[in-house]
Symmetry: D2
Subunit: 166 residues, 4 copies
Amino acid sequence: MNLKKAPELITTESVNGGDVPPSLASLSGRVILLECFQMLCPGCVSHALPQARRADLAFRKQGLVVLGLHSVFEHHEAQGHRAALAAFMHENRITFPVGIDAPATSGIIPQTMTRYGMQGTPTSILIDAGGHVRLQRFGSITDLELGAAIGSLLNEAGQPGASTKP
Amino acid sequence: MNLKKAPELITTESVNGGDVPPSLASLSGRVILLECFQMLCPGCVSHALPQARRADLAFRKQGLVVLGLHSVFEHHEAQGHRAALAAFMHENRITFPVGIDAPATSGIIPQTMTRYGMQGTPTSILIDAGGHVRLQRFGSITDLELGAAIGSLLNEAGQPGASTKP
Amino acid sequence: MNLKKAPELITTESVNGGDVPPSLASLSGRVILLECFQMLCPGCVSHALPQARRADLAFRKQGLVVLGLHSVFEHHEAQGHRAALAAFMHENRITFPVGIDAPATSGIIPQTMTRYGMQGTPTSILIDAGGHVRLQRFGSITDLELGAAIGSLLNEAGQPGASTKP
Amino acid sequence: MNLKKAPELITTESVNGGDVPPSLASLSGRVILLECFQMLCPGCVSHALPQARRADLAFRKQGLVVLGLHSVFEHHEAQGHRAALAAFMHENRITFPVGIDAPATSGIIPQTMTRYGMQGTPTSILIDAGGHVRLQRFGSITDLELGAAIGSLLNEAGQPGASTKP
């Protein structure tokens, strides 16, 4: 059994996250849902981000941490600025921390996106309490399947959902 | 920690289930989703039964067993016959076994429904691998929450979802 | 310009319709949405009947008449009785009149269904104020398209929607 | 009967509209759906713009003209530039012309938005073939109701929907 260690996030700044950008190192021992998006990606706006909000509301008490990652690889002029992202998050009522993926040093794919080998946005990633990538899905994932993966990892970490806790 | 043992099902006959009505005793060691419904209950037709079908398709490989229980407590003339239920299941493409809850010996609530203290239909019940009731929900439950409860119980039983299996 | 005159309904009895079964003759001068269904047809329960209810609520004031037609051509034992239909309509909160299509004298297709050449259920039919069939759709029709057809016929009949009335 | 004449659009430039910004004067005799939005307005992205796209696809052949109006009254730094709007429209597959509402000469509400007395975004406006405002709705409108209003105006203009055309 060989699990891939989740690479650390490389972000330039963050929104909603306090002074320090979100990092996996600071969340050791926690189950994490990392939602990678672009604000001009319709599938992100209509499906992935509302789903991440629902997961945040449903499972925060059981210990899930939801993080966003804004990985801009197109339309930089329209979505590449912190002010635009902050306005977008306000209008879409996103209250979990979102890091801004560091621009590529060469090419167009931001650095964290490259590290994870993501194919595009949205990409949903689940990281277990031991810091390993346990699910990475490009495109959409159903609520039923995402819920099951979260429930499984929370149980494994000794934080089963309240609804099934003995 | 005191968990309630799931009472055995009391059914008169079944559809899709072979010669023998579904019983919890025969499913020892398995995680079970028991969906209690009436065929003339709109919330069952539009929400609970399609959700149970999705759960069956998504988690059968990981070991989940989905069972239906037809607990008729009203409109007996319209939905109280096996032929009507069989036609309903065919049209709604329900392929998991459905037991017909045994009529009350006194009063109107069928016997299994009474044993579980169900308030009405639909009611979704999750039974863990040890045979205990771990979730019982009257009305609707979201896919995200049902998924998490299933994922948690499958993990506990050593059958984590394929998507997060190391 | 040759429009097909809508054949009269042949029904044995009705639910919600008072003592007299619904007839086109008694509704001369009115725009009619005729929704043909079976109670065990999932597409009817999940799409066509809720849509007919919405149309009834939205356009009754502008003069639209919504009628149901229960045209049973399969599973007679389960859905062929008035009591079953009445229970179904109660549970699904259908308040517009529903006639029971008269059984075939030969073959399995009920008489009104045969007269209209319907292919199955659900079938949505729009009849103009002059008594002509102006739309007949087997399967689903979108709200946008059904709304436009209703709005067009109401305008033609001098009963434009309140929202656009000068 | 006094109908309000639809005020002319005041726009600085347009996307998808060729060299000339969309104007009501150039569309005399046509039924128009004018969809007023902001790209960072979630109700616009998830409901109003997809609905306008559906209306464009469903009724273009019957003569409906769909126009967008980008009326920015907040988050100018994020959505106030033509490049951002063009990227947004590309990602959301909006192919009808969109004019950019002229900034206020005083205050924050753009000029066309002020002329129509709009309360915010999204606002859906229907203009009849004679150039009069026949429906103006802030917030959401159902497909059924919007469809009926469009069908009524197209019929009035002698362009009834193909589905009900004699």
